[in-house]
């Protein structure tokens, strides 16, 4: 019972970050701010949701697999966003200035 409550709280927190990420992706003005919203919100959101699944599961082989999945995404997702931001900077994608408006 207490594990179900903890699991629901963790999954709700992760779902909040999962919703905030696409809103930032839609509303922010240029590429660099969008990549800022997308990378961090998505990494933390998936970590919290899968952690809630682990708490719901208990200590089994499935929980170990989900833990490996969390660790893998925590490493690879910042790597992907860093590589894309580096490629965009090398390609000369212009940054947003405050005077331009939206």
């Amino acid at each position: 019972m207490i594990f179900d409550a903890v699991s629901i709280v963790l999954i709700s927190a992760g779902l909040f970050f999962m919703i905030v990420g696409p809103i930032g992706l839609l509303r922010l003005p240029d590429f660099y701010t969008r990549i800022h919203a997308a990378g961090k919100c998505d990494t933390l959101g998936q970590g919290l949701i899968l952690l809630g699944a682990i708490v719901h599961e208990g200590f089994t082989l499935t929980a170990v697999k989900i833990a490996f999945l969390i660790a893998f995404i925590m490493i690879t997702n910042p790597t992907m966003t860093h590589t894309l931001a580096n490629a965009a900077y090398e390609a000369g994608v212009p940054a947003w200035r405050k005077e331009e408006g939206r």
Partner: protein, 87 residues
């Protein structure tokens, strides 16, 4: 607890469709690339949630493989956009 996983799955599908707008209309190829990256991460979580809904733990293995394929694809796209070639 199954109803909680159903709700999480439906909300995840709605957020995937929000990202799909940026894939279709995003100005420039980099916006499309980061939106595809975001959809890939959401799909991994959605696969785990589907495995809980239908009580099939085999979906976890699919999620692990999908995470690796997504990582390789994004790194390849970024490298191609940076250097103009994959060599």
């Amino acid at each position: 607890m199954i109803s909680v996983f159903w709700a999480v799955g439906v909300v995840l599908i709605v957020t995937i469709f929000l990202c799909l707008y940026r894939v279709l209309r995003g100005p420039g190829v980099f916006n499309k690339a980061i939106a595809v990256n975001l959809i890939g991460t959401k799909t991994i979580v959605l696969l785990v949630i589907i495995g809980y809904i239908y009580q099939r733990p085999i979906f976890l293995d699919i999620a692990l493989v999908y995470a690796m394929v997504n990582f390789g694809a994004s790194i390849a796209i970024a490298k191609y956009l940076k250097r103009g070639t994959l060599a």
